[in-house]
Symmetry: C2
């Protein structure tokens, strides 16, 4: 195929299709050839619109995280922390399969740093020292990312039959997919509340 009359590709279309594949098939389920096929194109064509796969993933991550809400600090720093953490987690858990990618760091994403800077400034404004502000922001991120990892409760719902008897205290009922999701959210809320209260 030569140059088509209307372009088949655009950075946006590539990003959204890639994200759809990640959501459907997992992070490892995304390959440039599969992405290209889904767009009706050959793999090489993608590189006219995207510098590299890693860059593509970074862009996707950035766009997901752009919905994080840091407006709550105008009310109160506690409210700011809560609102920021909740919207952060909401963003991540709406696309859980991309979280492992974020785990690779170093998160040099500009928007992330900008948000972080804002958060940090608000905490200093509220009377915390610079060092304390950094640590509080870090602690908040620990809880957000930790809960998004789903290594925990949603992690082991694979085959509940395996667990019976071998782990006397763990309740098998906790592992049903529906319950696990709710439990994950409640665990996050508990950790968040305990953290903010304990400051």
């Amino acid at each position: 195929m030569p140059r088509p009359s209307t372009p088949l590709l655009s950075p946006d279309r590539i990003r959204s299709t890639a994200l759809a594949i990640i959501d459907r098939d997992g992070l490892d389920g995304l390959s440039m050839r599969k992405l290209a096929a889904e767009l009706g194109v050959q793999a090489a064509s993608l590189y006219g619109h995207v510098r590299t796969k890693d860059q593509l993933l970074n862009d996707i991550a950035s766009s997901i995280l752009s919905s994080v809400d840091v407006s709550g600090f105008s009310v109160d720093w506690r409210e700011g922390l809560l609102r920021c953490a909740r919207s952060y987690r909401a963003a991540l858990s709406s696309h859980p399969n991309i979280v492992p990618f974020l785990a690779y760091g170093p998160a040099g994403r500009d928007e992330s740093l900008q948000r972080l800077d804002l958060l940090h400034g608000a905490l200093v404004e509220a009377g915390w020292s610079r060092r304390e502000a950094t640590m509080i922001a870090a602690g908040l991120m620990y809880i957000v990312f930790g809960s998004a990892l789903s290594t925990f409760s949603s992690g082991f719902s694979a085959d509940p039959a395996d667990y019976s008897g071998r782990y006397p205290h763990l309740d098998r009922a906790h592992l049903l997919p529906g319950v696990a999701r709710e439990l994950d959210r409640d665990s996050f809320e508990l950790a968040l509340a305990a953290f903010v209260r304990g400051l």
Copy 2:
């Protein structure tokens, strides 16, 4: 080379060499061929001792996490949580490059579940409901894994020069490698203390 007089390979030797490569070259720096070369062997030979690369990584992760200390619950549940979290973090941060692998879940590692079961039982023993116990254990893991991800403070020490001016509140001094490590540990301690206190 035919069958050697004394075997060149053993699961232990494979695991420890693989871990050394991961520590040195990162998670992506480990390939079966490179691992084999480092062991003086061809890649295919590894598969006589290891079922699959994924399994190998799981085994390595298990052995790293086997040093987690869950003995503190005989004293007091708070002490148990603190000791468990600290030893968990110590284990992870001694081999930070394997943490991204753990982010893939689902952590069906037997020892992890056994530890979790013990932790859960101790919390129930202390008077928490089963559901609360699960959530508290999850919250603890959030902080441990979140801090191990190092997406945060140690994450962006790449090029401090880039940050000057663009992020008015973030202190460049926080990004020096030595400071970042200490800051990471202190942030973890702060988050942990706040969490346990807030329960």
